[in-house]
């Protein structure tokens, strides 16, 4: 069972939900897939150890073989190559590593060389929770290969919670595309609602069953709730706008540690999700 925790924008409490959810359950894995800003760790405080480095294959052009035919530059749809009259310039940070340019080069002047763009880390085994995270190096824009590398460490035999990047761009779709359920975390404010709809659309496009966690419930209006009721989207959990929760958050403490009564609520959430997944898989 793979559950993506997503939200249309950052700052809705997505990471809080992911971390508390993971800590409430037994024998689950937590994967921080928000590789541009991995911050689950801030709440967990585990010792981390490196697992592997992630590289992207980028072209290296041999000027002695290159005939300046321009084919590589006009092929590259990410515009990572520029053809000047006397040389080809490459921009590795824009390269998606598709391998197309070296494939089409008629002079065989292009070789693919690995370039490090990020790394994977995990919590040492003395921690109760299996935790992995991916990190995209500063200045890099290609989050997807790091997320893919991270996914290869998931143990498919146990439930996994995927803290997804915010938004609805490519990295999010990579995470959602891998999941079998999507929990959307949102606040019921006009802006929150707008971003929620975008995220919902993304999950729907991937045919992913969706449930909602209302964070800071009680603040704002009832538009998310009304919408969900009308569309038959379950509200899995409401996290009220409570002083205690806000304080623990600001101190970097997962609220479940100090408020054990929440364990049951998160466990029930897992049960609900489980039922939906089984149904959609026809079990």
């Amino acid at each position: 069972m793979k559950i993506a925790i997503a939200s249309g924008k950052g700052g809705t409490g997505k990471t809080t939900v992911a971390v508390n959810f993971a800590l409430a359950l037994e024998d689950v894995q937590l994967f921080d897939c928000d590789v541009e800003e991995p911050n689950c760790h801030l709440f967990l405080g585990f010792d981390l150890e490196p697992v592997e480095e992630v590289a992207c294959l980028v072209p290296e052009i041999n000027p002695d073989l290159c005939t300046l035919c321009r084919e590589c530059a006009s092929f590259c749809k990410y515009n990572a190559l520029a053809a000047l009259p006397n040389k080809i310039l490459s921009f590795p940070s824009l390269c998606h590593g598709c391998g197309g340019c070296s494939y089409i080069c008629p002079a065989e002047a292009i070789e693919e060389k690995p370039r490090l763009i990020g790394m994977i880390e995990k919590a040492s085994s003395k921690n109760s929770l299996t935790f992995y995270r991916g990190i995209l190096n500063i200045g890099e824009v290609m989050a997807t290969p790091v997320i893919r590398a991270l996914q290869r460490h998931i143990d498919e035999s146990r439930p996994v919670i995927l803290d997804s990047p915010p938004g609805t761009a490519c990295p999010v779709l990579t995470v959602m595309g891998y999941a079998d359920y999507c929990v959307l975390v949102t606040e019921s404010t006009p802006f929150g609602f707008h971003d929620f709809l975008l995220a919902l659309e993304a999950a729907r496009a991937l045919k992913l069953p969706v449930g909602v966690v209302l964070n800071r419930d009680g603040v704002g209006d009832s538009r998310v709730e009304d919408f969900c009721r009308a569309k038959g989207i379950p509200i899995l959990l409401r996290i009220p706008d409570e002083r205690m929760i806000a304080r623990l958050y600001s101190e970097g403490i997962p609220f479940i540690k100090e408020m054990p009564e929440w364990k049951e609520k998160f466990r029930n959430m897992l049960k609900t999700i489980n039922t939906v997944i089984c149904k959609s898989e026809g079990v």
């Binding site: 530059a73 749809k77 990410y78 515009n79 990572a80 190559l81 520029a82 053809a83 000047l84 009259p85 040389k87 310039l89 921009f91 824009l94 824009v141």
Partner: protein
């Protein structure tokens, strides 16, 4: 020698567009003959690397001097590799920018002055 100006239209009286990579057109002027030509900026619709495509296009069109506003790091490396002199601070129409250049009112750009656009 050709002077290239980033613009929103193709004519001398078109408004300039200070965004190098994303402008619609480049107007090229040959100050010796007075000939005016224009090219569509292939970067204006690029999903990534707009500035690179734009810079490549003006190099190939034979520009030697560029009058514009903001240039990102990738565009800047293509332009400087090709030996193009860059001036920034254009405003008004293409004509007006050309006059300001001739009277020395534009400043030479020695490094990128904007961040690459992700979109």
């Amino acid at each position: 020698m050709k002077i290239c100006i980033s613009a929103s239209g193709k004519e001398l009286d078109s408004e300039v567009d200070p965004k190098f990579g994303r402008c619609n057109y480049f107007v090229l002027i040959d100050p010796d003959t007075g000939a005016v030509t224009s090219i569509k900026n292939p970067g204006s619709e690029a999903s990534s690397g707009a500035g690179i495509r734009a810079a490549e296009a003006i190099v190939r069109a034979g520009a030697e001097i560029l009058l514009t506003g903001s240039v990102g790091p990738n565009s800047f490396s293509v332009l400087s590799e090709a030996g193009i002199e860059i001036y920034s601070g254009i405003r008004g129409t293409v004509d007006f920018a050309l006059e300001e250049y001739k009277s020395g009112k534009l400043v030479v750009l020695k490094g990128p002055n904007s961040s690459p656009s992700k979109a």
